[in-house]
């Protein structure tokens, strides 16, 4: 950083309303002095008043009420140089402050920066939130050398990956569709690229990722198990900058800079994979001509109209394409767009209004023109949302707001060429309006207690245009009724209490508890056991009830050695109602009465998570172990006997370590171990119609072999030039070449099997995979 010595605070004081009261309000924003990005979770502490302070919201805004007079304010954000202001306050004051990196950090700029106050894990009321800053995970080794926030989240306690070849994930025994994934407030329906090997989140464009898995704040709703809130960067408003990386199977480039210095900036970031380029080495000419790639683009601009108003426009567009000749094509992708307006009514009341668009669709085509046919399906949302933060006083900060999402589901359209003889199929679109409203207070009581309590109301109106069916036990249609546009078919609603409490034993010990109830109104039906782009989203309807998730969690947190080591134990119990599974041999494709293929049941999950984290020094990282169960029961499956959910991994262990050898070299490693997934295997064989047929045993009564894997990474910072920084990152995935099971087949004709006996044949996706990526940063 060139302005190392200029630890200057951009500092402005404006006269606000004259205040007659004893208390005055100090408010403003805290930003990163290097690039003007808002700092989320930075704190302001009044050093002469114990336990008085404030933290910035996601837009970097804070507000604090204190008695008029002389005070010392400390502005603090982990990894940044602390700023101390000694001032006499006589009236409401606006302080916009920039923080710069601390000296130690500046020298070794690429090491971990966590944007948390170092003991925030102890003092905040919120149960443990897993927060990742893409900067902090740069050196963690990952498949194909592409850093990925979703893959890294799967190394944290309570979060389990969907298995190799999947970016779907499970949180505390919940289903893969029970995670609300937001990108700048917009729902991302399918977070995977390239058949699951990458997530849709381009780390270069991301500022911050927060994963809430218990005590979920009332502002979020709609998914029963967790919230993953991803925020895009705003773009550097000081200088133009370019950064990027060139890897073996993908490359990326980010451009950012001010439009109007300190007022307006943009960022645009793109990625393109080219795994298919390797196909030129394939022996078969047609495979050489095949296409298999994804690209995505993140873009965002913001403009500070005044000190009270700021506008953001951000969008994401991504597409995966797979094609063989012109005869077969398959492509899918998400589009999101968010228009936001931050407005400061006064120095205590902050409001954000958002208009959000989100869609996901997939399409495949076989043959072309008259001799071809294609199938497509989509979901599309429009969402209007308003969120208020009211900083009542130094002990209470209120949040309230509302939103309404209009969903349009297009379950499937088949379009066929004239020569094929298929009729055009156009499954009717389905419509719904999902609404929510909430009120929440974060309150400190004395020096030891902090509470966050709130209530959310949610409602779901399944509505026309459409036809509602009523089904008999055997799936026959009993009755049907058509509805006009916006006419309500069925309305569901519910109150969702949210509660978190923390008791601070002392500076380095605390106990926290949380409870939340969440209604989930849209559900993902999966054609397969792993997440795939052809999964279908369906609304709650006259037949499908909303899923309800209740969770109780309790945690103990302790920091050692000036917060260098953080130890936590969290335990939880989760109840899930109205879970969805399928009737035997359910057919989900182009099925206009998909609801009759469904069965409904209950679930529960419980577990205990241990974690130790080292946050400072040359060696950093974490180790965690989770002991947990995830169970389901359905009246129509094995007579209601409770069975393991696929993700019922009893033991789950992760180790992530990063070591700075010197200023040039950083090494890292990660190790993963978990109990194999619960799966259904054949439990006998018989002969029918000339075939040997497996007899399917009890649901998920068997296990895949245990999964384990070790990865290594090395980042080498090359010699810096003026305005140019670059590094090479090497990684080895699956160092000891473990063949982890992707699937197991039972066959009698594998390779040279002469016995005629059935054998279990395991398919593993990845053996050892080395990779190299060149990353650069230009200013």
């Amino acid at each position: 950083m060139k302005q190392k010595s200029l630890l200057i605070l951009a500092f402005c004081i404006t006269t606000a309303l004259h205040s007659f009261s004893q208390n005055i309000t100090i408010s403003g924003s805290i930003t990163d002095g290097r690039n003007g990005e808002d700092l989320f979770g930075a704190s302001v502490i009044v050093s002469d008043m114990s336990n008085t302070g404030a933290r910035t919201n996601i837009y970097g805004f804070y507000s604090l009420s204190i008695p008029a007079g002389k005070h010392q304010l400390i502005y603090r954000n982990s990894g940044f140089e602390e700023q101390v202001l000694d001032l006499t306050f006589t009236q409401d004051t606006l302080i916009n402050l920039e923080l710069f990196l601390s000296k130690e950090i500046q020298e070794l700029e690429e090491v971990e920066i966590t944007s948390k106050r170092t003991n925030e894990n102890i003092t905040s009321a919120q149960m443990e939130v897993t927060r990742l800053d893409p900067q902090s995970i740069k050196t963690i080794p990952i498949l194909f050398g592409e850093q990925d926030v979703m893959k890294t989240l799967q190394l944290t306690p309570g979060v389990k990956g969907g298995g190799e070849g999947s970016t779907g994930f499970y949180v505390r025994g919940g289903g893969a569709d029970q995670n609300l994934i937001l990108l700048d407030e917009s729902t991302v329906y399918n977070a995977s690229h390239l058949l699951g090997f990458f997530s849709v989140f381009n780390s270069d464009a991301i500022k911050d990722v927060s994963l809430y898995k218990s005590g979920i704040p009332a502002e979020y709703g709609g998914r029963a198990s967790s919230v993953m809130d991803v925020r895009m960067r705003d773009g550097n408003n000081k200088n133009f900058a370019a950064s990027g990386g060139i890897g073996l199977i993908s490359s990326r480039l980010t451009l950012e800079g001010p439009i109007v210095k300190d007022k307006s900036s943009f960022i645009i970031s793109g990625r393109r994979s080219y795994a298919d380029l390797f196909l030129v080495f394939a022996p078969d000419e047609d495979i050489r001509d095949a296409k298999l790639f994804f690209y995505d683009l993140n873009a965002k601009v913001n403009y500070k109209i005044s000190d009270k108003d700021r506008i953001y426009i951000s969008g994401y567009f991504g597409r995966d394409k797979f094609a063989v000749n012109e005869d077969f094509g398959f492509n899918w992708g998400n589009k999101t767009g968010t228009l936001r307006w931050n407005h400061l009514y006064n120095d205590k009341l902050f409001v954000n209004t958002s208009f959000i668009y989100s869609s996901f669709d997939y399409e495949f085509s076989i043959g072309q023109g008259e001799d071809g046919f294609g199938i497509r399906s989509s979901i599309r949302d429009f969402n209007l949302k308003q969120d208020y933060s009211y900083f009542l006083n130094s002990n209470n900060s209120l949040k309230f707001g509302f939103n309404g999402i209009h969903h349009t589901f297009e379950p499937g359209v088949l379009e066929s060429g004239a020569n094929i003889g298929f009729n055009q199929i156009n499954l009717p679109k389905r419509h719904a309006l999902e609404i929510g409203g909430y009120l929440q207070n974060e309150q400190t009581v004395g020096n030891r207690w902090a509470f966050m309590y709130g209530l959310r109301y949610s409602g779901f109106n399944y509505m026309g245009t459409g036809t509602a069916y009523e089904f008999a036990e055997n799936g026959e249609v009993l009755s049907e009724k058509t509805y006009d546009s916006w006419e309500s078919i069925k309305y569901y609603q519910g109150f969702e209490p949210r509660l978190s409490a923390s008791f601070i034993i002392n500076e380095s010990n605390s106990i926290k508890a949380g409870y939340n109830r969440i209604f989930q109104y849209i559900h993902q039906l999966s054609n397969a056991t792993t997440s795939s782009p052809t999964d279908v989203w369906v609304p709650t309807s006259n037949n499908v009830k909303p899923q309800i998730g209740d969770q109780l969690a309790l945690g103990y947190y302790k920091n050692f050695k000036k917060d260098e080591y953080q130890v936590s134990v969290e335990t939880y119990y989760k109840w899930l109602q109205n879970q969805i599974d399928y009737k035997p041999n359910a057919n989900l494709l182009l099925n206009s009465q998909i609801e009759r293929e469904l069965v409904y049941g209950e679930g529960r999950a419980y577990g205990v998570e241990f974690q130790i984290k080292k946050t400072k020094g040359k060696l950093t990282g974490w180790f965690n172990y989770t002991l947990s169960r995830a169970l389901r029961s359905f009246e129509d499956i094995d007579g209601g006997t409770e069975f393991s959910a696929r993700q019922d991994r009893i033991h789950d262990l992760n180790l992530v370590l990063t070591y700075d050898i010197n200023k040039k070299l950083v090494v890292s490693t990660s190790f993963v171990y978990y109990t194999g997934d619960a799966v259904t295997f054949p439990s006998a064989l018989y002969e029918m119609d000339g075939y040997e047929v497996p007899y399917v045993g009890k649901r998920n009564a068997n296990r895949l072999p245990d999964y384990h894997r070790l990865d290594l990474g090395l980042t080498w910072y090359l010699k810096e030039r003026k305005n140019y920084k670059h590094n090479l990152s090497f990684s080895i995935y699956n160092v000891y070449n473990r063949e982890n099971a992707f699937s197991i087949r039972f066959v009698d004709d594998f390779e040279d099997n002469q016995t005629g006996q059935t054998q279990a044949v395991q398919t593993a996706l990845f053996k050892i995979i080395p990779s190299i990526t060149y990353n650069f940063n230009f200013k």
């Binding site: 495949f364 054609n527 119609d689 075939y691 399917v696 044949v761 996706l765």
Partner: protein
């Protein structure tokens, strides 16, 4: 269609993935009764085979059950006994069909009674076969594709095509070709069979079976499970139409046959 996703996944992984035989412990089920019964109305033959399940990694043969009495009853209530062949199978020949009626089978194994029924639907005629040359593609070599031309009668119809190539029945699981008229209700249709491509001078016969819905569903579910695609949303045993939870099915079916010799 769900397989397309798996084709793509396999395509991607063709170069990196690896397979091997592993030792695996499996939860064994108790042996269950297995009954395969069919009435082929073109051959006018009723055939029943009785056996039991064996454990997954067993080297044993399937047990034969020779102690049963098997009888078939038509819609008029006339019951006829099948003759015991002594190898676990039971047979009745020259049994004349009544189309559009229901047949019932009753099996007595040491006092345990197993019953099932199926409907004999009218046979949809196969109008003709034609062959079209297809250039080499990523999924296949060059060769001739055979199209079945038939007029789908109004109302739900369920089909299965069985192929005989140069005098030999194609009986691999991938040769199974079941289809219904949900995409082509009431149309004159030309249905390609992509399973295999043929060369000049090949003789191909197609038997186009017309099934009851129950039989069609059973064979479709059987194909899903027997092809071992672990991709099913809910892997399950085919819905048996036997009482007492016996595995298997009783089907009554007719078919129309056409033959084509591929010419240039």
């Amino acid at each position: 269609m769900k397989n397309i996703f798996y084709i793509s996944i396999l395509f991607l992984l063709a170069t990196t993935s690896c397979q091997k035989v592993i030792d695996l412990k499996v939860d064994d089920a108790e042996p269950k009764m297995v009954i395969e019964a069919k009435y082929d109305v073109i051959k006018q033959e009723v055939f029943v085979k009785l056996s039991k399940t064996i454990s997954v990694f067993s080297a044993d043969n399937y047990p034969q059950i020779n102690s049963a009495t098997v009888e078939i009853t038509d819609a008029n209530g006339v019951t006829t006994l099948l003759s015991n062949q002594g190898d676990g199978t039971y047979l009745l020949e020259n049994y004349v069909p009544i189309f559009g009626s229901q047949y019932k089978i009753r099996i007595n194994v040491a006092g345990d009674i197993y019953e099932a029924s199926d409907d004999l639907v009218n046979v949809v005629p196969l109008d003709s076969l034609n062959a079209e040359f297809q250039e080499e593609s990523p999924f296949s070599e060059e060769g001739y594709v055979i199209f079945m031309n038939a007029t789908d009668p109004v109302g739900p119809n369920f089909y299965r095509a069985i192929r005989k190539v140069n005098g030999e029945y194609k009986r691999e699981i991938r040769d199974q070709f079941l289809f219904d008229d949900s995409f082509s209700e009431g149309n004159t249709q030309s249905v390609p069979i992509f399973t295999e491509l043929y060369q000049v001078d090949d003789t191909v016969s197609i038997e186009l079976i017309s099934y009851s819905k129950k039989s069609y569903t059973y064979f479709q579910e059987l194909q899903d499970i027997a092809s071992g695609s672990g991709a099913s949303a809910a892997p399950a045993n085919p819905t048996s139409n036997w009482s007492k939870e016996a595995l298997g099915h009783f089907t009554v079916f007719g078919y129309d046959t056409k033959t084509i010799i591929i010419k240039e």
